[in-house]
Each structure stands twice: as C-alpha cells, then as structure tokens.
C-alpha cells in the first residue's frame, strides 16, 4: 500500500472507528494477512484465464476508510429527497431503502410494518454494533477469508455495507433497495452485503453499485477499484430474490464475489444486471444444500466501448432432489469483451437433480468478442442436465425487416436487443421489479440509441 498507513493499520482503524467487537477485529486482521500472504492468482488456473489479477491490486489507489459516521435510520420521506434519482417513482412501493456514498454515512429506512415484524435492514457497521450475535453467527460464513485473495481483501477492509435479516415466517411483499455509490477519485471501495433469511421468510433485494459519472478529475468518471462481496444464507422453506445491479462508472475496475446457500425447500432467484465498469470480473455461486432446494440464476450483460467482462457462475448441487436453472444473456458493442464460464456441479449424493444452463451472446459489431464455456462436473448419473451456448452476430435479415417498417437502424438493433433480453427478464414475475430492472437496461440502451 503506497499510502501513509499500512494495511494492518487501516484494518485497526476501521475496527476502532466502528467500535467493533474483538472477534471482528481479529477476523479482519487475519483476512489482511491472508490477502498479503496469498500469491497473485495463477493465470493458468481456470478462474483467471480471462482476466489479469494485477488489475485489481489496490497499491496505486487509496482504500477508503470510515469517517466515524454511523448508519442513520431516517424517516423514509427524508431518504426519498436525498437525490433526484430516488426522489421519484424509484422509491415508490419499496419496503425499504439504504443509500451510502464511499461506504460512509449510510441512510436507511424500513417501513414500520417490517420493523415491527423484526426485520433488520441497515448498514453492516450499524448491525455489528446493534446485533453482534447475529453478525458473529453469519458474517463471512458463505464468503470466507479462504475463498480467495480478493475476498480476503474485502473482509479486511469493508465498511458501511448492507445487512438484511428476515426472521422466521416473515414474508416481505415489497422490494428492498440498497445503493452503494462511490464518488472519490483514485479510491478503492469494498461493498459487502449480507442476507440472512430464517425459516419460511421471504424477501426481494436490489443491490446497486454505481458512481456519479463526473466525480473524477476534470469532470471525468472517478478512477475506482471495487472489491465487492455478497453472501446470503436462506434457510428452510424461505424465498430470496436478489438482484445485483453492476452500474459502476466508466473508469471502475470491479471484482465481485457472490455466494448463496439455499436450504431445504428454499428458493433463490438471483440476477445480475451487468452494465458498468471498465474491467470486471465476477464469481457467482449458488449451493443447493437441502432437498427441493431451487435456484434460478439470470444474467443480463450489456457491454460497449472497451469494457471487459469475465463472469463465472457455479450451480453446486450438494443434496439430492435439487433444481437449478441459469439463463445468462450477453450483448456486446464496439470493442467490448466478454468471457463466460458456467459450471454445473452435481455431487455424488445429489441424485434426482435437474440442472439447466443457457448462455447466449449477441454481437453488434465486428470488433467485439465473446467466449462461452460450459463446464460440467456430474458425479451422479441419475440427473437431468442440459446446457447451451451460442455466440453470433445480429441477424441482418431481422434488422432489414424492422427497417422496412420505418425503424432506423439503431432503433431496429435496439428492438432486437430488447427482444433478446426479454425472455430473461420476463422470468421475473413481480411486475414492479420487472419494470425496475428493465429501467436500468433501457437506461444504458437509451444513451446508445440517441447518440
């Protein structure tokens, strides 16, 4: 670290400023040592075939530290006036909202009804203070220090963050929305989200990353390195819908680790809306740990300019009678690059399981490139499993057909792209959520159609 403070000092500062319990301070230090001690990932190892680990090192930027501001629970109406973006219908119909900038001064709100039911929705730092036992039990259990060098880095340096806890039997019928903004130039940021659903609980969470486009020097996007982690544990018979919106700015490098553990009779729908950043790598894994555990994973990726994306997904069937379905769609323009690798692993004990995986890539320009590699580790033969992958250019006959109806080329391409994504997003039954996710995608498409 080039800054005045050593990593270990930074970790101690975070623990001190946050008034954190000893176990957490120790964990952070251990994580930092693990990060420092671990060699850079081997490019030959399959997870790093497509990206350079050096790009995610933080020695040329300043890791952001907490400033002592703790989470502030506020009246929902106040949160709604925080920024124009959230002033309008974006906040309507939400059960809760959490906004933080540079991992600091989180503002959050939760509808009365759910607070009374025992739901917790706040930043992790506040949660550590108020609910240390719950945190000690769950933090770092899905994404541990051992997971990877960069996951350890997040454990050492995260602050702010998001904590969602839904007690047994509580079903939240409206979405919760968390926003992590990074605005400081030449900074490293470590967003972390922890979701715990107890037995029979249900929740929908949109977790959004972004930065103000002109927060860097001379009105450019800020230069940021983001190491983000999401871990979720969903107990028996619970239902989670988790949507991660990667809307980082044009000069952010992002590394992301997501893990969801799905218990017996529980259902996880998880989605990635991948739009932002310049150099991005994500490792996403859902483990099916009990009978009838169900996972649906969707991905919508829209890349342009020189954006680099490296997405790896895993569906791990640990228990018998489990179900997974993945639908990941990629559209690239200009000179964007995407590598997708998708593993289906069916353990020896996971008989009678079903696993489906589909990755389709649509290329709008000659210079963009996409790779798609399905990976299967099927240790039990008593399963049903299919996978499909395609990479292809836009169909010129479709473009022509639309143009004969009066659509200019750009609009025709846009219609085809929207149509390409539609079956993925249409899997989301909740109408309001469906509309919200479309808005992110359309937001990016809009800037393209109009240029």
């Amino acid at each position: 670290m080039s800054t005045l403070m050593s990593g270990a000092e930074a970790v101690r500062t975070i623990a001190q400023v946050g008034n954190e319990p000893d176990w957490l301070g120790h964990w952070r230090l251990q994580a930092w040592e693990s990060y420092e001690g671990a060699p850079l990932p081997d490019r030959v190892a399959h997870l790093w075939r497509y990206s350079e680990p050096e790009k995610f090192l933080i020695d040329k930027v300043e890791p952001l530290l907490p400033d002592g501001s703790t989470g502030q629970a506020v009246d929902p109406t106040i949160v709604r006036t925080l920024s124009d973006k959230f002033a309008s219908e974006a906040t309507q119909g939400l059960a809760g909202l959490l906004i933080q900038q540079d991992m600091r001064a989180p503002k959050f709100s939760l509808e009365e009804e759910w607070r009374e039911a025992g739901v917790i929705f706040c930043d992790l730092s506040s949660a550590v203070e108020q609910y240390p036992q719950i945190l000690e039990k769950h933090l770092g259990k899905q994404v541990s220090i051992e997971e990877s060098k960069f996951a350890a880095l997040n454990a050492a340096l995260f602050s702010g963050g998001v904590f969602l806890y839904v007690p047994s039997g509580v079903e939240i019928n409206a979405p919760l929305h968390a926003v992590h903004q990074s605005n400081q130039d030449l900074a490293a940021i470590f967003p972390r989200t922890l979701v715990v659903l107890e037995e029979g609980a249900s929740a929908i969470l949109i977790d959004e990353y972004g930065n103000t486009p002109d927060a860097g020097s001379n009105g450019a996007a800020p230069r940021v390195i983001a190491h983000a982690v999401t871990e979720a544990s969903i107990d028996k018979n619970s239902q989670l819908q988790y949507f991660n919106v990667q809307n980082w700015g044009a000069r952010t490098r992002s590394h992301y680790t997501q893990k969801i553990h799905v218990g017996r009779d529980a259902q996880a729908v998880s989605g990635g809306i991948v739009l932002g950043g310049i150099y991005n790598k994500a490792d996403i894994r859902t483990e099916l740990l009990g009978a009838n555990a169900y996972s649906e994973m969707i991905g919508v990726l829209l890349g342009d300019s020189l954006q680099h994306f490296d997405n790896h997904t895993e569906h791990v069937h640990v228990h018998s009678h489990t179900y997974s379905d993945l639908d990941f769609k990629v559209v690239l323009e200009d000179e964007a690059r995407s590598a997708y690798t998708g593993l289906i692993r069916i353990d020896l004990e996971a008989a009678d399981s079903e696993a489906y995986q589909e990755n389709r890539n649509l290329l709008l320009d000659k210079q963009c490139r996409a790779e798609s590699i399905p990976e299967l580790e099927i240790l039990n033969e008593d399963v049903r499993c299919t996978h499909g992958a395609t990479v292809g250019p836009i169909d010129e006959e479709q473009v022509f057909y639309l143009m004969t109806r009066g659509l200019p080329r750009r609009a025709a391409e846009r219609a085809i792209v929207e149509g390409f994504f539609a079956p993925v997003l249409d899997r989301i039954e909740d109408k309001a959520m469906h509309g919200r996710l479309w808005n992110y995608v359309r937001g990016k498409l809009e800037t393209k159609t109009n240029r």
């Binding site: 006959e397 057909y401 009066g406 200019p408 025709a412 539609a422 079956p423």
Partner: protein, 266 residues
C-alpha cells in the same frame, strides 16, 4: 387506367446482381396512383429479388437503372427512409423477432413515423384492436412475439395487419396468398380490398392466379428470368392459369430466333 393518371412508382431498366450473378436484367415498370398491378412468374424468376431491391435490401447490388417513388430517387435512400415515405413490403417469408411483441413492434413502427416520436397508447390500442377484429385475428396476437412460432397463415395475416396499421401509400405484397387455405385467403384478400383507394397503389406478387379472383388487378405482368416479358390485363392471368408459362417461353424463343437478340417486349 386513365390518361391523366399520375405515376406513383416508376422503375426503369433496373439491373440487379447478388454475389456477382445478375438476377434482374432490366426491369421497367410504371404504377399510377390507385392502381393495383400483379406480377406473376414462376419460382426463381426474380420476383422476390425485385421486392427486396425496391425496399433497399443491403445484400443486392444495383448495377443499373432507377427507382422513383413520388418523384424521389429511392436508390439513394435507406430502407427505413423509404418506409417512412410510405413504401411497404409484405414479406414472402416474414422474419421472427423473438422477445418483441406484436403490439410493441407496431407501436415503435408508428412512433418512428412521427416527428414527435410519440403515439398515444390508448389511441394505438383502439386502432390495433379494430384492425385485428377486421382481419379476424385473436386478441392474444398483440402480446405474442413477432412471427415467433406463428403458422404460415398467421404470419401472412400479421403482414396485412401491419399494412393496415401503417397505412402505406405503396404496398408490395410478395406471395401473401401462398400457403393460405381458402378462408385465410379470403380474409387476406378482403383486407387488401379494404385498403384499396384512389391514392394507394399496390404491387401484388404471386405465382397463382387464384388470388386474382378476389383482388382484381388493373394490370398484369409476367416476369421471366429477371425481366418483365408480357404486360396485359386480367385476361393475361387467365391465359396463364389455363396454359401455364410454356407458351410465353416458346414465343420468346421464336422471337429470339427471328431477331437474333434476347429481348422480347409485349
């Protein structure tokens, strides 16, 4: 055809190649406002090629000739510009656009024609329902993906539905009649007849005479090997129905023998 009629559409000496093969070898065609012309010809004679070229399909290379519509030179314009000027093609093989609903598709097509880029949703819905009723298509049509999993007949109806909604001034219908059972054919023909007006012209491409029992053309052309080789009235279609195309070939052949050149205009 009256003498004071205005040409809406004029093709002169159109020569077109694809992958270096000359497919259209000098087509001349003039269509006046309000007229319906039929082009008949066997498979492979170049009818669809002509339809595509008139709409500006990028894969075809125009070697020579001109295409004028409303006095404007179409060959300089992109496909979408031609469409917004009022040209329309009902495809022989309509493309499917998965993920895009019929309603959304039509709404965007209409919006593309408006200066403001806006078309009121309610008014649009009303018009769409009306058009669907008229063409006897189920209301579920609107929310299905464009041509995705449609039967042959449904695809043709959707082409006509689009023609209804977009209200073009010049319609090219490429074998809209083929592959339809008699009921579907009648519905489609009724749609076409309902669209008939003083200002609107149509080019009906077909290789059966059958549709001409329902839609009466003003002029009938025969295309063979990339050229229009005969032009006449409805009786030309009737002769073709009875005698097929061989007699024209024979006449053309004799003509070639006699003159030593390969042209034969009726």
């Amino acid at each position: 055809m009256s003498d004071n009629s205005h040409p809406l559409f004029e093709v002169q000496n159109l020569k077109v190649a694809i992958d270096g093969n000359e497919i259209l070898r000098g087509v001349d065609l003039t269509i006046n406002e309000g007229e319906i012309h039929a082009i008949m010809g066997r498979n492979g004679s170049g009818k669809s090629t002509m339809a595509y070229v008139l709409m500006g399909h990028p894969h075809y290379e125009v070697l020579d000739g001109s295409v004028k519509y409303k006095g404007l030179d179409m060959l300089d314009l992109d496909t979408d510009e031609r469409a917004r000027l009022g040209m329309f093609l009902a495809f022989q093989y309509p493309m499917s656009i998965p993920g895009v609903t019929v309603a959304k598709f039509l709404h965007s097509a209409l919006k593309a024609r408006e200066e403001s880029g806006e078309v009121a949703v309610r008014e649009f819905r009303t018009n769409l329902n009306e058009a669907m009723n008229l063409l006897g298509v189920d209301s579920s049509f609107a929310s299905r993906y464009v041509n995705d999993g449609f039967s042959g007949g449904e695809k043709k109806r959707l082409e006509i539905l689009q023609m209804f909604m977009l209200e073009p001034d010049f319609c090219i219908l490429d074998e809209t009649d083929s592959g339809l059972d008699i009921d579907a054919l009648k519905t489609v023909a009724e749609g076409v007849n309902a669209m008939r007006s003083e200002q609107r012209s149509m080019l009906l491409i077909t290789h059966y005479q059958r549709v001409l029992n329902y839609v009466k053309p003003d002029v009938v052309h025969v295309m063979m090997d990339g050229k229009i080789v005969r032009t006449g009235g409805i009786e030309l279609a009737e002769t073709l129905e009875e005698n097929g195309y061989e007699w024209i070939e024979q006449e053309l052949f004799q003509n070639t023998e006699a003159t030593g050149i390969g042209t034969a205009e009726a």
